[in-house]
Subunit: 209 residues, 2 copies
Amino acid sequence: MKIKNLPENTLHRLVIYLNVLESMERKKIESISSEDLARRCGVNPAQLRKDLSYVGNLGTKGVGYSVKSLKFSLKKFLGRTEEWNLVLGGLSPLGEFLLNNRDIQKEGFYFMAAFDTREENIGKVINGVSIYNLDQISYVTKAIRVDMAIITSEDKPEEYLEAFLSQKIKAILNLTSTPLFTEDQDIKIENFSFPMALTKLSFFLKNSR
Amino acid sequence: MKIKNLPENTLHRLVIYLNVLESMERKKIESISSEDLARRCGVNPAQLRKDLSYVGNLGTKGVGYSVKSLKFSLKKFLGRTEEWNLVLGGLSPLGEFLLNNRDIQKEGFYFMAAFDTREENIGKVINGVSIYNLDQISYVTKAIRVDMAIITSEDKPEEYLEAFLSQKIKAILNLTSTPLFTEDQDIKIENFSFPMALTKLSFFLKNSR
DNA sequence: AAGTGTGAACTTTTTCACAGCT
DNA sequence: AGCTGTGAAAAAGTTCACACTT
């Protein structure tokens, strides 16, 4: 049980464990051993136990883990018992899809506002979320707490990033095809795009024939 | 210059380098040093050079790298000079979004068919792609080459996975909230979901206050 | 008897530092 | 003179193996 900084790969795996446990709970599985859960998560059982030891002493020796309570411990540890306020950067097709998507809200992530730079989009309301001009961002951040931003504008992703960082938003999910980085260790940027994910698969296929 | 198995993190970074180079090319930057590119990619310059050494001798000592030719070498190495045939598993909102999305095709990934299990969806055509019943998959794989599958059905993701594996599809992008795994080393599964990505951010925020 | 939690051993990855090419 | 490519050193991450608890 440590409070030190978690390796990035451990964080990644903890998120996987949480989601696999949620799927097991839906299947009414009540308890599980590290061996069994590890197999379902594609990892070594010792690795799973070591990862969980960052979170706490969660199991019972000689018995295993309760699915429900392990899931709750992970959820708490990962900050997922709280609710988080999001803003969207860029009313792209993907951005519009996300605003209309219920799954993200269901998990406790709420879009509070969206930003765009094209005059014709400003003032629109999509699924209850208003679209503002990016220059007006400070008015929005004055009025509401913003925890995270999702950038989906393929056009000028850096411009959105700058605007969000200027408002002291510290967590960014960048879904454009241009990966974004910052030196600042106080800020976390996650980069993902569909073509990037598919590229890992194309490399795999190319090398397995 | 090795042909050995590439570490997963190196693959991840190579994909980032490729995308950052493409963005630099759009900005008309013609050449770059490892130090400069590394900073734009959030890595150590030695790491960047070591990563690139898996691909080949790509730079010029005392000078640096040509953006255009480094980009091309990476593209080739990652299998992105080829075209790849996709199928979709599950006509979910995200699935429908992907079928309608031009960006994925533009990168050389082509949807050839989509599958669903709900009778009312079978026979529909979305953006030129026909929806088939999942039980009929073998007819489709007999007629066309399928390289990769994208699973977006939150309902029974495992069912789609099984069907795709039974058809010897070796590369899967799973976009549902249930991570999927297989023992089989011949098969590569990439797992991603928006809530999982946001969870990494929520952990970061929870621990930075 | 069974399965967790964890130091210790091992493996892999990252960073350093410099020889060598342009 | 400057920057790459890479062995060697350092750091980090993974797996083993077993003491310990139920």
